[in-house]
């Protein structure tokens, strides 16, 4: 099957380095903030956004994103509500947009319904951390393909070269390189260990570009990572920035302007 137009693949063609992708939680800080916040992120210079589907048990996330998930659920956010909000995403927002969430809400929504509604809303890709690639290929891939939604897979410092190559072979769009074996939000020094890992990844000459996430929070991180990868993903640091503020959109813009290269 030939791939039809997708904003993610177009972005990497146009801009092979220095990409900034930012994560926000749908329905946070307030229920109806999702789409306006994404608009603010775009206007401040984000190249791509990840919209988190809140979940009651986000085991791959640290305290900051756990907190934003809990608040969003208290605000009444659900996947059904999010899909309704996303009807206003395009054309106001034209950068690539991904949904990031845990597999259970997607299973309950129905994988096919999820892909159809996401595609209709102009979503380009998804990241589902607790859906292993083996299960994805067996049970989900045909839905994702038929609606041209890219499934972004993760690699970590413990992933063997052989498995990284395999993940590369089944990936489209980009690969999400987890910068440390930590849950999101850990403060990671720009240390030798990370550089060695990123160097190893860059030497594998993968067909997909790499974005590096987990523990990325500052402009310095972005600069250092930029030596090895196409860009960064920032989550917890962004949530912390809007969390403390009475004007989420203004804080979002300030934060992004502070890290954009």
């Amino acid at each position: 099957m030939t791939l039809s137009y997708n904003r993610i693949t177009e972005l990497f063609k146009r801009k092979p380095s220095g990409i900034l992708s930012v994560y926000c939680t749908a329905g946070y800080p307030s229920l109806n903030d999702t789409v306006p916040l994404v608009g603010a992120m775009q206007s401040a210079g984000a190249d791509m956004v990840e919209i988190g589907i809140p979940f009651s048990d986000p085991v791959a996330d640290g305290p900051t994103i756990q907190g934003s998930n809990e608040q969003a659920l208290r605000n009444g956010m659900s996947l059904e509500r999010l899909m309704a909000q996303l009807k206003d995403l395009r054309p106001a927002v034209n950068i690539p947009a991904l949904l990031m969430g845990y597999v259970n809400p997607i299973i309950q929504y129905g994988a096919e319904n999820f892909c159809r509604d996401a595609a209709e809303a102009g979503i380009d890709g998804v990241i589902i951390p607790d859906l292993p690639p083996e299960v994805y290929l067996r049970e989900f891939e045909h839905f994702f393909r038929s609606f041209n939604i890219l499934n972004i897979l993760l690699v970590t410092p413990q992933t063997t070269d052989e498995r990284i190559r395999w993940i590369d072979s089944i990936s489209t769009g980009f690969i999400y390189a987890v910068s440390s074996s930590a849950i999101t939000g850990g403060r990671l020094a720009v240390d030798q260990q990370r550089s060695a890992y990123l160097l190893r990844l860059s030497q594998l000459k993968l067909k997909n570009p790499l974005l590096v996430g987990f523990g990325v929070s500052s402009r310095e991180d972005c600069l250092e990572i930029g030596k090895y990868a196409s860009g960064v993903i920032i989550g917890s640091a962004f949530i912390r920035a809007i969390n403390a503020s009475s004007d989420a959109a203004a804080s979002a813009r300030d934060f992004i302007k502070g890290v954009v290269l």
Partner: protein, 395 residues
């Protein structure tokens, strides 16, 4: 009909390993090695020796004559409460600590609800000189305070978990987060037949010693090959799987798992997963879960911290779906009453978890010729506060 997992860890449509990539190397290594290790003669010898000389196995199969008279059947109690540390949990923690040793992992983490698994884990870590961190919901640290003190005395670090509903589910989330952050040196000793493959199968095999002994002991005592009925409580379901394991393929043995109805199945304060749950993914496996329409996991409620979990192990979900095991539930109040009854007529104070299994006996129409085995999974010392409040209410 198979009651056991396939190559990918699925029991029918339940099970599997829904794990983040960070845990892939750990789960892969464990999947590839657990059977080889478990079946090796040196492992089996070490495991059996510790079960015998350290945990005190075999646990007695006790003919409860006054309880039998009360219910009009032959009731035998499998006395897991008499094991070292006071519950069946030690069977699994001995197995898993020996597994961790063979995998070269020196740091141990665990979740705990009632604290029985936490104590059993802290115990084997002390025995083998390993670092031990136990995650426990803050609410459970309060209602099971004696077990927190025991874990500390054994040298474990107890981390109170303040996220979510502050009980077993949340402690499990936090243990998984620890494992994701420390995959290279850490083994996660899951306390029940839950989690990603191969945990449900591995834990079931370690706990299967319960039913292996029941078979042997019943034969020795009565000459009967098989009991008519086996009853055990189900939270995640490890003592139940252990009690059922060697009877699963003997269809003439009726098997009943008893879940916690809490304040009543329809009260909104329950942990009766088979009655209230739908298939979904939590803690690494596809199983039956209490959840809302959006797939958010609901808070379970039970007076018993060990049954306060919104899911069940995937093997139980399968055994429920194929109707090999019947799942019932009893309320907080019924469990308290049954716990008190056992104390008064047999001189045994059972854990509140086990009291759920005992409570179900009053709902069965038993005949005098029937042989019933109930698993007393743990002792009730940790629950004295709750029992005393109940006695106070009775006046």
């Amino acid at each position: 009909m198979s009651y056991f997992p396939d190559r990918n860890g699925f029991y029918g449509r339940f099970g599997g390993a829904y794990i983040p990539e960070m845990l892939y190397p750990n789960i892969k290594r464990l999947s590839e090695s657990y059977l080889k290790i478990l079946e090796s003669p040196s492992f089996q010898e070490e495991f059996d020796t510790l079960l015998r000389d350290y945990a005190g196995r075999p646990s007695p199969l006790y003919y409860a004559s006054r309880l039998s008279q009360h219910y009009g059947a032959s009731v035998y109690l499998k006395r897991e409460d008499l094991n070292h540390t006071g519950s069946h949990k030690i069977n699994n923690t001995i197995g898993q600590i020996l597994m961790a040793k063979r995998l070269g992992l020196r740091r141990i983490i665990a979740e705990t609800g009632a604290g029985q698994h936490g104590v059993a884990t802290a115990t084997v870590c002390a025995l083998l000189g390993m670092e031990c961190v136990v995650y426990m919901g803050e609410l459970d640290t309060q209602r099971q305070a004696p077990n927190v003190e025991r874990m500390k005395m054994l040298g474990a670090k107890v981390v109170p978990v303040t996220s979510g509903s502050k009980v077993l589910k949340d402690a499990t989330n936090e243990a998984l987060r620890d494992w994701i952050a420390n995959p290279e040196n850490t083994h996660y000793i899951i306390g029940s037949v839950v989690g990603p493959h191969p945990y449900p199968d591995m834990v079931a095999r370690f706990q299967s010693v319960i039913s292996a002994e029941i078979r042997q002991q019943l034969q020795n005592k009565t000459g009967k090959e098989l009991p008519d009925l086996v009853v055990a409580c189900v939270g995640g379901g490890s003592n139940a799987i252990g009690s059922f394991y060697h009877f699963l393929e003997a269809p003439e043995v009726r098997l009943i798992g008893v879940e916690a109805a809490g304040q009543g199945v329809s009260s909104g304060h329950s942990a009766a997963t088979t009655a209230l749950g739908r298939p979904g993914v939590l803690h690494g496996s596809m199983t039956l879960l209490m959840q809302d329409a959006d797939g958010q996991i609901e808070e379970a409620h039970s007076i018993s911290a060990g049954l306060d979990y919104p899911g069940i192990g995937p093997q139980h979900a399968h055994l429920f779906e194929v109707r090999r095991v019947q799942y019932a539930n009893v309320t907080d109040e019924e469990a308290l009453k049954a716990g008190l009854l056992l104390a008064r007529i047999e001189g045994i104070i059972p854990a509140l978890e086990s009291a759920h299994a005992l409570a179900h006996l009053s709902k069965l129409e038993l005949s005098g010729s029937e042989t019933v085995v109930v698993c007393v999974s743990g002792r009730g010392d940790k629950d004295m506060q709750t029992y005393l409040e109940y006695l106070g209410r009775l006046g």
